[in-house]
Structures are given as C-alpha cells and as structure tokens.
C-alpha cells in the first residue's frame, strides 16, 4: 500500500535520484529519441514540401536557415550547460545588450567594425563570466542568477540605447550576413554554425571534458570525487555561452541592420525549448548534440511551414508549447512502461526481504 502510493507520487522539482532500472530504461529510450526526432524532422520536411506551397523553394530555404542561425548558435552552449544540470536564461538578454553596445560603439567610438565585433564577443564573454561567478563562485542556483541577469542585461541594453535604434551599418556588412553560398540557396552564415556545432559535438561526445559534463549532470559530488573540477568547468561553460551570445548579437544586428534594446527578447525560452525537444534532460546528465540540432531544425521547419500555410504567427506558439510537452511526456511515458515491470519486481523483492 505504502509502496503503491510511493509509486503513484510524481517526482517534484529537481528530483535527481532514480532507481537503476529506470535509468537504464531511460537510456534505452534516449537512443531512440535521437532517431525519433531526426525521423520527425524528415517527415515534417517531406510533408511540408509536398503540401505547403512555396515551402520547397530555394528562397524559403534561405530564410528558414537564416532565421534559425541565432537559435542554433545559442542552443549549442545551452546544451552543454543543461547537460551539467544548470540553465542559462540570460542568453537572449546577452544578445540584446551586445547588440546595443555594438550599435553604440559604431555610433560614437569611431573604431573599425572589425575591432568592434571582437570587442562585442569579449563583452559577451564577460557577461557570461558574471553569471559564472555568481553561480560557481557564490554557489547560487543558476536558475535564479540568470533570471536576475536576464532582467539586468536587458535593462542595461535599454540604458545603452534607450528606445533608439542604430541602423547605419555599412551595406557591405549587412549584405554579407545574408549572402548565400554561390550556386546554392544556403546562407554563408550556416557554415560557421555547422563548424561550431561540430566543435561542440566533439567536445561533448568525444573528449574527457564532455564525459565530465555528463558526470556533473548526474551527480556533482561524485564528479568532484572523480577528480572533475566542477566549479571551474561550469564557470567556463557560462563564459562560452556569453561569448556565443555576443556572436549572435553581432549576427542579429547585421541581419536586421538594426541595433535595438529589445532585440531577441524572449528568445531564451525558445532556446531552452529546442534543447529540451532535442532530448536533453532538464535534470542534467542526459542528451546529445545531434538531437538538439534536429530539434532546432524541427522547430524551425514546423513554424515556417505553418506560417506559409497562413497560420497566425503568434498562434504558432501552440505548436512550440505542445511540441515541448509531447517531447518530455512521450519518452518518459515509454520509459515508464518499460521500467514498470522491472521496478515492480524489484520492489516486491525489496519489501519481501
């Protein structure tokens, strides 16, 4: 009886410990999750290509990919951070602040745009380092800290430019950002995204650092005892996240030829959605970069196709939300089913002894 109610009770909050049987079940489900999300992506592309007018055109592909660049870039460090069991909600505000700083520097400093871009990425890294200091130095929860810096950085970006916009960037730069690879309709900007994705993928899946990230996500303390410098690694993750935010700030500013305080507002939630949709566990310790990239693409394809099919852009948030919910409910339900028998047996065994 007591055991029954124990079973029926849902885990609340950051409930990290799980019976070994369940974990194994989840791991099994995860392998299929990557496949499932890639399959869903293929199906979505095929369906959209066949049934939605103008979807399978080069021009649409170009805009679809361009729109996804910020999301894809931000999702890379976010994946690593979520794998360690932390979260960074300040990314979109970093984009906003670096964008306005870029505008302000261009407007008043007289520096060359090349130098400004380097400075902006460095500033992004500093903003990330502030997160890192609060989280690893003072030992504060990343959720609370980055909600704070979300407001702080967004506020500062309004302080920098007010409600003004800086728009007079050289046309050669703004055109370069949206240029396509000659002979194709794939934007040039996709190349650095792919390169970065490759780097992050290799780091996460094929280096000791990546292994350490998973170890931290599963159990901070155990990782410490295993010789992983948890605090230092997490600090650098937040620095990287900030630097990538700065990069996206540059891209965003040039893509829309406009540095404004409200650039990329609310993008943080979409980034988190894409990462979770990609199969990364919010508890940390599980997930992979391939799934996340597929998740980003799936999100983009669905939204783009529905938009072309004349669905109100704002109402599309239903799709984002439902996808996120389904993506976490489905694998857990499957793992539950699979683990159920095993767990019952285990529990009966335990209570008997």
């Amino acid at each position: 009886m007591a055991h029954d109610s124990l079973y029926a009770a849902p885990p609340s909050g950051a409930d990290t410990e799980r019976p070994a049987g369940r974990l194994a079940g989840l791991r099994g489900a995860l392998g299929t999750w990557d496949t499932a999300i890639v399959a869903a992506l293929v199906v979505a592309v095929l369906l959209a290509g066949l049934s939605v007018q103008n979807f399978a055109t080069g021009r649409n592909a170009q805009f679809l990919l361009l729109d996804l660049v910020p999301l894809a870039l931000l999702a890379l460090p976010m994946t690593l951070i979520v794998v360690t069991g932390e979260i960074d909600l300040s990314v979109a505000s970093v984009v906003g602040l670096t964008s306005t700083l870029m505008g302000q520097l261009w407007l008043s400093s007289g520096l060359s745009l090349e130098l400004i871009c380097v400075l902006v990425v460095l500033i992004g890294a500093v903003l990330g380092a502030v997160n890192g200091v609060f989280i690893t130095g003072f030992g504060l929860p990343s959720l609370a800290v980055t909600i704070g810096t979300l407001a702080l950085y967004r506020g500062l970006s309004f302080v920098v430019l007010g409600d003004q916009a800086v728009a007079d960037f050289p046309a050669s730069w703004t055109a370069a950002v949206v240029r396509t690879i000659p002979g194709t309709s794939i934007p040039v900007a996709v190349v650095p995204v792919l390169l970065l994705a490759l780097v992050f993928g290799v780091v996460l899946h094929a280096t000791p650092v990546g292994r350490a990230l998973y170890a931290m996500g599963n159990n901070d303390e155990a990782a410490t005892f295993a010789g992983v410098s948890v605090a230092r690694t997490k600090f650098w993750l937040f620095v990287v996240s900030g630097a990538v935010g700065g990069l996206v700030g540059i891209f965003w500013t040039l893509r829309y030829a406009s540095a404004r305080g409200d650039n990329a507002t609310g993008l943080e939630l979409t980034v988190v959605t894409a990462v979770l949709l990609g199969g990364v566990s919010i508890f940390g310790g599980r997930g992979g970069l391939l799934g996340v990239v597929a998740g980003v693409l799936l999100l983009g394809v669905l939204r783009n196709a529905l938009q072309l099919a004349d669905v109100d852009a704002n109402a599309l948030t239903i799709v984002t939300g439902s996808l996120l919910i389904v993506s976490v409910v489905l694998p857990n339900a499957a793992a539950d089913l699979r683990a159920r028998l095993h767990r019952r047996r285990r529990r009966a065994h335990l209570s008997a002894s």
Binding site: A2, L6, A8, A9, P10, P11, S12, G13, A14, D15, E17, F134, F138, G139, L140, P141, L143, A144, V145, I147, G148, T149, L150, A151, L152, Y153, R154, G155, L156, F158, V159, G162, D163, G261, T265, G266, L269, V272, T273, L276, I282, F283, D312, N314, A315, L316, T317, I318, V319, T320, G321, S322, L323, L324, I325, V328, V329, N332, A333, D336
Partner: protein, 353 residues
Amino acid sequence: MSLTDTGAAERVADNPPPDAGRPRRGLTERLLAVRELSLLIALAALVLVTTLRNDRFLSGQSIKDLLLGCAILVILAVGQTLVIVTRNVDLSVGSILGLVAFATGELFLAAPGTPWPVALLVGVALGALCGVVNGGLIAVARVPALVITLGTLYAFRGVDYYWAAGRQINAADMPRSFLRLGNQTVLGVPVLFLVALVVVAVAGYYLRSYRSGRELYAIGSEPAAARLSGIPVGRRVFAVFVANGALAGLAGVLYAARFGTLDAAAGSGLELQVVAAAVVGGVAIFGGSGSAYGAALGAVLLTTIGSSLAVLRIDPFWQQAVVGALILAAIGLDRLLALRVAARLRGRSAHGA
C-alpha cells in the same frame, strides 16, 4: 549591509539558550522575520528617499496608484510562492492571466448582462482549469514543472492568440459595474489592493498554520523524505498548481477590470517578474522556505521601484536593470545568511557532542 547586521544581532540574542528541542524552527522563523523586516526597511528607505526628492510621492493619489499597480503582481507572487515552496515553478502564469483576461472580455461581449461576480467566478474557474492542465501533466508525465509550464506558457498564449485572432476588446464592451471594480476605492484604498490583501492573508495563514501548508515546506525541503513520511506529495503538488492557476485567473479578471483594453498579448513576460518578486521576497527558488508575506512585499517593492524611478527623474530605462540587480542582491543575501546559519548549526552540534 545593515540588514544582515540586524539578522546577526537577533541571532546573538538567540544564542544563549541552546534548547535542543526546537532550535531549528525558531531559527527559521527568525530568519523569515528578518527577511520581511529587511524588505520593509528597503521599502521604507526607498519611499523616504523618493519623498525627500518629491513630496508628492506620498500624496493620496500617488499612493493609490501604487497600491493599484502592485495588486495584480502581489496576487500572482503569492500563488507562485505556493508553487516554489514545493520546489516547483509555474512559468505559465502570465499566459493564464492573458487567457483569462481575454475570456472575461469575451464573456461580456457574448452575454453583456453578466453580473461581475459571475465573470469573476468564471475567470477563477478557467484559471483553475489551466492549473489542472499543468498539475495533471506534471503528475502524469513525471517531468519537472519548469519544462511543463514552459510548454504551457506557449500553449496557453497560443490559444489566446488563436482565439483573439487579432481582435481587441475595449472598455466600452464591458459593463460599468465591472470596470468600477478596477478603480473603485474603499476608504481611499483600491478594491484591487484589498482583494490582494485578502489573498496574502489567507495564503500566509494557510502556509504557516495549516498542516497541509507545512507539508508544502516539507515537500520542498526534500521530496523523497516527505514521501517517506507519508505526505501525499503528488496530491499536494497538484493542488498547489490548481490553486496557483485559480489565483492567476483571479488576477486575469482583475486585469480586465483595471485596464479595460484587452488583446491577446496581455500579461506577456509577466512570469519572470512574478518569479523575481517571489525571489526578492525571500522565497528560495529550490523550495522549502519563504512566506507569502515576503513574496507580497517583494512584489510591492518591485512596483515601488518602478514608480519612484519615474519620480526621481531617473531614466525609466534603468528600471529593469535595477530589478535585475535586486534579484542578484536578494539571492546573494540569502546565500550569505544560509552560510552563516549552517556554520552556526555546525558549531552548535559540535558543542552538543
């Protein structure tokens, strides 16, 4: 700094009688009291400084505006406190508020003769229904509230947009008696604020004095331990989400009454402000501590900062940055206090042994 000093002094006074029976409870209560006290001091200092600069800040009309402005945030912050105390979070409150506000307008459009208490009940019921969706999904899917409510944040907002389809509801569409609810005062105090006060008092009393209220803290401190000690964790968490949804529904109806003009974007981005109010109010983001009174004071403080910046002729663009800095300061302060308490408890147990 003086705030932490107050805490230290109180604890020194508490030090001599090492009553083994209930030192922890007394200590926790003392800390909570300190937090509410420090919030009151900060609020008083803010009002004082602002009034010194412009004595109209304490005029009747200005105070009325202030109370009116914070009422909705207070109600939402109290609801959020119930959730956060159990180590969960509800990010969908802004969307629930928007949905209910629009539904209230639609109700008056469809049935102009509806008496306002009926509209109020319908709104609260709709909010509670949204809470049932949240709580149900969390219970069934066994995934963290952060993920589910992030999904429903999008889903509820999408439903709102889909329903509204770009339309706007104006004050002229709603009955006078209902709109008066939003502006009327009793003895100079806005009705909206009185409603908020009742909500704070009821939730505060419940959390402090009811068995099930205390159990929420137990769940937030350690869900596994709570489960083992026979607390129906699943039921409690579900109930908390329904209650929070109902409060967000109440806030939605009041929002409609206060602003009159409604579109599908009402309350966008409010969720982070609500979480910020609770965190500033001393509700620990990882559960187990905090009070409804503190969260309410946090909400009042955030609103007051907004109005006093305007009075102090500080660029209104600074407001969000100040809010962010305040969140960081609040959680930093909490951490500092927690470290001191931990050090003291260690000292005490060493002494006892």
